[in-house]
């Protein structure tokens, strides 16, 4: 009798042990840094994101068939046109790495006819959510492949910085500008505008540059 009781009691104990382990197993949690957000006087919020190149360029790792790649950049060419993608770590203004970012650059049809070079940004912050941005580009920032197939980002292109150490990438607001298209989780329902600017440090040499990309967003909660 005692043996039977011990047997069934320990079965219950085993089931309980699994439930307790499942409840208290420390599953991975995304580290969150304090958000650095300003309030815009006429409503809304302002938040800047920083990318420093070349150190924040990532991957693209193994090159999928059909792509040419370089440091942190990939290029796809088809009969219809080409598209390039750059992958980065994303920082807050304090320099903390808070997420990942991608910029896809391509040509698409323009509302008034003809074609226009555009970029999509995806700002992916694991602990907070995602912001999706779109812009028409004020200057050509598409990556390009050389004769050997090596892909170079626009910032490393010879002559790119001839106009000065700072460039604004987004067009003016009256030409479309940068638009915050929406987001997820903390950024769900957000719309607004943004500007993308690049600044280079020192004299670019040998086709290699270093500098920073600043994405300054001004958002409001749709319907808020």
């Amino acid at each position: 009798m005692a043996v039977t009781r011990a047997f069934y009691s320990c079965i219950l104990l085993g089931i309980l042990a699994v439930i307790v382990a499942a409840a208290f197993l420390p599953l991975p949690v995304n580290t969150r840094y304090r958000s650095i957000i300003g309030v815009v006087p006429d409503g809304g919020r302002e938040e800047a994101f920083i990318i420093q190149w070349p150190q924040d360029r990532i991957g693209p790792g193994v090159t999928p068939p059909g792509l040419a790649t370089g440091d942190g950049v990939a290029l796809m060419s088809t009969a219809a046109g080409s598209a390039s993608v750059e992958l980065f770590r994303l920082r807050d203004v304090s320099g903390n790495v808070i997420g990942l970012a991608s910029r896809s650059t391509y040509r698409r049809s323009a509302p008034g006819g003809g074609g226009v070079q555009a970029s999509d940004w995806m700002l992916f912050i694991p602990s907070r959510g995602t912001l999706h941005l779109q812009q028409e580009n004020a200057i050509d920032i598409a990556a390009a492949a050389d004769a050997g197939g090596a892909v170079t980002a626009a910032a490393d292109r010879v002559g790119f910085w001839s106009a000065g150490p700072q460039v604004s990438i987004t067009t003016d607001a009256d030409r479309g500008g940068g638009r915050v298209m929406g987001g997820a989780e903390e950024f769900a329902g957000f719309t607004g505008r943004y500007d993308e600017a690049w600044s280079v440090e020192g004299e670019p040499a040998d086709g290699r540059s270093s500098g920073r990309i600043t994405i300054n967003t001004r958002t409001v909660l749709e319907g808020g």
Binding site: F7, A22, N30, G61, R89, L100, S104, A184
Partner: protein, 214 residues
């Protein structure tokens, strides 16, 4: 004799408890893949490689160390980036896709939630782009793979494909924005996972992304 019976009982209890946990009724009632209506387009892709977290059960459970491809920065340690070439239906042009994912907030084994949040940017050169946002719960392949492992066959999810439901109360998979010929569209999407024969314990495997936009 009591000790022997107790040890046997405890072992059986562990097995029963694990079975009950994996057969959590919530996983049957709370996890329906997104229903697509209207014209549905499909893009197929296979992960050629990734940067960041491996999409393996033990990694999602926090039981294994990071691989060499993992990010070391604390803010993105549980995140992953993939760059993929996506093939459309026969004859349709390929697209270039970027997919970010990270462990979902609110993962909870008692509630049958073990998944990731996802964000997509898909570009068709010369046509336009889509930006998508969602989440996916791996509970069904985790359950089937664990059952397979318990029978000594290794972690091999048995079904040929798994339509992945969103993480309950997580991000509903949807189209956030489009440009070019996709400008102003709205829609939803769903990803399906087919275990790869080469690495069945990896949830990246062979993938399909189905979306309907209007």
């Amino acid at each position: 004799m009591n000790r022997l019976a107790g040890a046997a009982g405890f072992l059986i209890g562990l097995l029963l408890g694990s079975g009950l946990l994996l057969l959590n009724p919530l996983s049957f009632f709370d996890q329906k893949p997104v229903a697509l209506s209207g014209a549905v387009s499909t893009l197929g892709w296979e992960s050629a490689g990734h940067i960041g977290m491996a999409l393996r059960p033990a990694r999602l459970l926090g039981l294994t160390a990071d691989s060499s491809a993992a990010f070391v920065d604390p803010g993105i340690r549980h995140a992953r980036a993939e760059l993929v070439v996506m093939s459309g239906e026969a004859g349709s042009p390929s697209a270039l896709g970027v997919r970010f994912s990270a462990v979902a907030p609110g993962n909870n084994l008692l509630r049958a939630r073990l998944g990731v949040t996802t964000a997509w940017n898909i570009v068709w050169p010369g046509r336009g782009s889509l930006q998508l946002n969602g989440s996916e719960n791996f509970w069904a392949p985790l359950r089937d793979g664990s059952w397979s492992a318990a029978r000594g066959r290794g972690f091999v999810p048995g079904a040929s494909r798994y339509p992945l439901p969103p993480v309950p109360r997580g991000r509903e998979p949807r189209l956030v924005a489009g440009s070019g010929e996709f400008a102003g569209k709205s829609g939803v999407f769903r990803e399906e996972f087919s275990p790869s024969p080469v690495s069945a314990d990896e949830f990246s495997g062979l993938r399909q992304l189905h979306f309907s936009i209007e």
